[in-house]
Every structure is written in C-alpha cells, then in structure tokens.
C-alpha cells in the first residue's frame, strides 16, 4: 500500500497539474472568445452608421476629430502595430521587436485608413472603436484588429545621433506594459532597449535618448 502510493504519488501530482492547467486554459479561452465577441460588437455598431454618413455629408469633419492612438498585436503573430490618428492624418508603426519594422504615413478620413511607407509598405483599414485592416511590409502581410491605447501605452519614437551613429527607435507599448521596439543604428535593426515611459528615456549604449509619443501631428523625421 505504502509502496504503491509512493510509486503513483508523483504521477498524480503531474496529473493534477495537467488537469488544473486544462481547466484554467479552457476558462481563459472562454474569456478571450467573449472579449473578441464584445469587441466585434462594439466595432460593428458605431463604425458604419455614425462615422460614414457625416463624412459623406460634409467633406471636412477632420478638425473636430480627437487624436487617438490604436495599438496591439497583429493577428497570429508576435508583431505589433500602432496607429496614431489625428485631424485626417495617420502615422503607423509595425514592429516585431527583432527585425521587421515599418513606419507608415497617410490619411485617416471618414473611418478609412490609407498609409504607405518605405519599400512599398502599405496599410489599409478602418478605424472607430477599434482599428482593423491589413498591413504589408516587404513580402509579408498581416491583418489586425487593435484597440485604443491610453497613456502610457501607445507609440513612441526617438531619432537622434549617438556617438556619430544615426539612430532611430520605435516602441509600441501595449496595455499590459509589454514593449515591442526596434532600434536601428546606421541602418542595422536590433531589439530596442527598454523605454522608461515615465521619463520617456531609453539608454542607448549608455547614452540616454529621449523619445516622444507619436501622434499624427508630429511629423519630425518622417
């Protein structure tokens, strides 16, 4: 009896862990599915009726539009996208935190996004409570449905010179505090150092570099 318990005890421990994990995973999946449904409902309602008709009635409702930044992960990948929309203009940044990045610029008019960037990068989609659409960079294409980001999450950019090297860095900060960023030094991309969102500084090879929160009004360096 004692012997068989000693034999099976560790297996029961493992089994208990697997069962607990499976239960929690299914609960998490249910929660995620519910959240997706809620988000889709939120998007379907306001995006079409309230944004489109006034736009077609009056061709310049841009000035009244508030600045808003969307940020989140693209579908089925670790890469992130952030889109800053303000007064008819939009700036977007696609970043996987390793090699892939693209800065894009364009218009946000009547609920529609149309942005382009270097190397035939392209982003098209809609915006409302969510920004949804597709972004293409290089030979790859991602789709996305990302929510509004509130500070300190959002999009940050730094462009300066550190010890005679031209550096450009972009960070997308997600709601959970996750940062995805790339630092390009003289054209070579690498994972960006952590950005302190409070002081908006990051240390690049020991030199503090100041980043600015990107909204569509900021055009420096583009």
């Amino acid at each position: 009896m004692e012997k068989s318990v000693r034999h099976k005890g560790p297996l029961f421990t493992l089994l208990a862990g697997v069962v607990l994990g499976a239960v929690l995973l299914s609960l998490a999946m249910t929660a995620a599915a519910r959240d997706t449904a809620k988000r889709n409902a939120a998007v379907a309602a306001p995006a079409s009726p309230s944004v489109s008709p006034p736009a077609s009635a009056a061709p310049s409702p841009l000035a009244a539009a508030p600045a808003v930044t969307y940020a989140g992960r693209v579908t089925g990948s670790h890469a992130t996208v952030a889109i800053a929309v303000h007064g008819g203009h939009a700036i977007a940044y696609l970043c996987d935190g390793k090699r892939i990045e693209a800065w894009l610029k364009g218009t946000a008019v009547a609920g529609k996004l149309a942005l382009t960037g270097a190397g035939a990068a392209r982003l098209t989609g809609t915006y409302g409570h969510l920004a949804t659409g597709a972004v293409q960079a290089g030979s790859r294409r991602w789709t996305f449905a990302v929510a509004v980001a509130t500070a300190p999450s959002g999009l940050y950019r730094a462009a300066t010179k550190v010890r005679n090297a031209k550096i450009v860095a972009g960070w997308i900060v997600l709601a959970d505090g996750t940062q995805v960023g790339i630092l390009t030094t003289d054209g070579r991309p690498a994972t960006a150092p952590r950005l302190d969102t409070g002081s908006r500084t990051a240390s690049v090879n020991g030199t503090p570099v100041t980043a600015e929160a990107v909204d569509a009004a900021s055009t420096s360096g583009f």
Binding site: P10, T13, L20, L25, L27, A32, G97, Q179
Partner: protein, 189 residues
C-alpha cells in the same frame, strides 16, 4: 534532437540510465511549452481573480507563494538528507516534503497558463527571454523529477540534482517576473 535519440536507446533498469526516459519526456514537455508559446498568438487575456487589481498581480503573488513553498522544499530536503547539523529528520518530513512540493507546483500552474496563453514565449528583452526559457526548463525538469521519483536504484545525486534544478529554475523565474514587478511597479495586491 538529442533527447529523441536518447529516448530510442534501451533504458537501463538501474543506475543513471533510468534517468533517460524521464529526462526525454521532461525535454519534450519543455519543448512543447516553448513551441506552443511561440506559435500561439498571445491574447493578452485570461481569467481574472477577484480581489486583485490585475491578472499580473495575481501571477506575482501566486509565484511568490510558490517560492515560499519551494523554500520549504529545499529546507525539508536538506533535513531529509541529514545536511543540517544537529537536526535529525522527523518521521513526517517525507510527507511534508511531498505536500509542500505539490502545493508549490500547483500554485505555478495558473501562472504558466496565463503566461503561455496571454503573453506567449517572449524574446524582446533579456528578462523576458530568460523568463520564457526558464519557464520551459522549470516544467520540463519538474516532469523529469516526478517521473524519476518512483525509479529504483537511481544514483544518489539524481534526485538532489533534479530537485536543485527545479528550485533554481523557479527562483530564476521569480526574479525575472515577480521581483522585477515589485521593483518596477511596487509591492501591491
């Protein structure tokens, strides 16, 4: 790769050879978790627990509780092996060791699920890369240890080594997550 080859070799019934199958299964567990975390797209969403301000704080405190039980693990193991001078192992020490270990392990499971499902295998900083790797290692080595426990005739170093690795991995996990959280966000519920 190496573990697959090892798994095909005929395991010896005694000695270090008996560790081959548990080690291979443990390696498979670690790989599976890592690959799942990498290919699955993180949702950022999981179940939240009442009484805590965010899923992150739940994880931080679960991990901290797990560390507490892991410390009981390492000290009860030292007592069992007679490594604490002047302390003779009481009769209940084995039971105590087993149940504190089970508790520590079960506390880590919700953290694992949330990390894998909501965040995935992350590599964007040294901290997250180390944390992701240690997470896979922890559950792999833990599986290997559980599967090794019932084996007869293991070399004397086998269980202390596996147990030590599990403990070290857990401490590393805690340092790269909960400790980091406490130092950046402060100690809060």
């Amino acid at each position: 790769m190496a573990s697959q080859t090892d798994a095909r070799a005929k395991p010896a019934s005694t000695g270090a050879g008996a560790l081959i199958v548990p080690a291979a299964i443990g390696a498979a567990v670690a790989l599976t978790l890592g690959v799942y975390g990498r290919v699955h797209s993180p949702t950022g969403i999981a179940v939240s627990v009442a009484g805590f301000s965010s899923p992150q704080t739940v994880k931080v405190w679960l991990a901290t509780a797990a560390i507490f039980f892991a410390l009981l693990q390492i000290s009860s193991a030292l007592v069992m092996y007679g490594k604490v001078p002047g302390v003779t192992a009481p009769r209940w020490i084995g039971t105590f060791h087993r149940w504190s270990g089970r508790t520590a392990f079960l506390l880590t499971v919700p953290v694992l699920v949330h990390c894998l499902y909501a965040f995935g295998f992350a590599t964007y900083s040294t901290r997250t890369l180390a944390h992701s790797l240690l997470g896979c290692v922890f559950f792999g080595v833990f599986t290997a240890k559980m599967l090794s426990l019932p084996k007869r005739g293991l070399p004397g170093w086998a269980l202390p080594l596996l147990g030590g690795l599990v403990f070290a991995a857990l401490v590393g996990l805690w340092l790269t997550s909960a400790f980091w959280f406490f130092t950046t966000s402060g100690v809060k519920l």
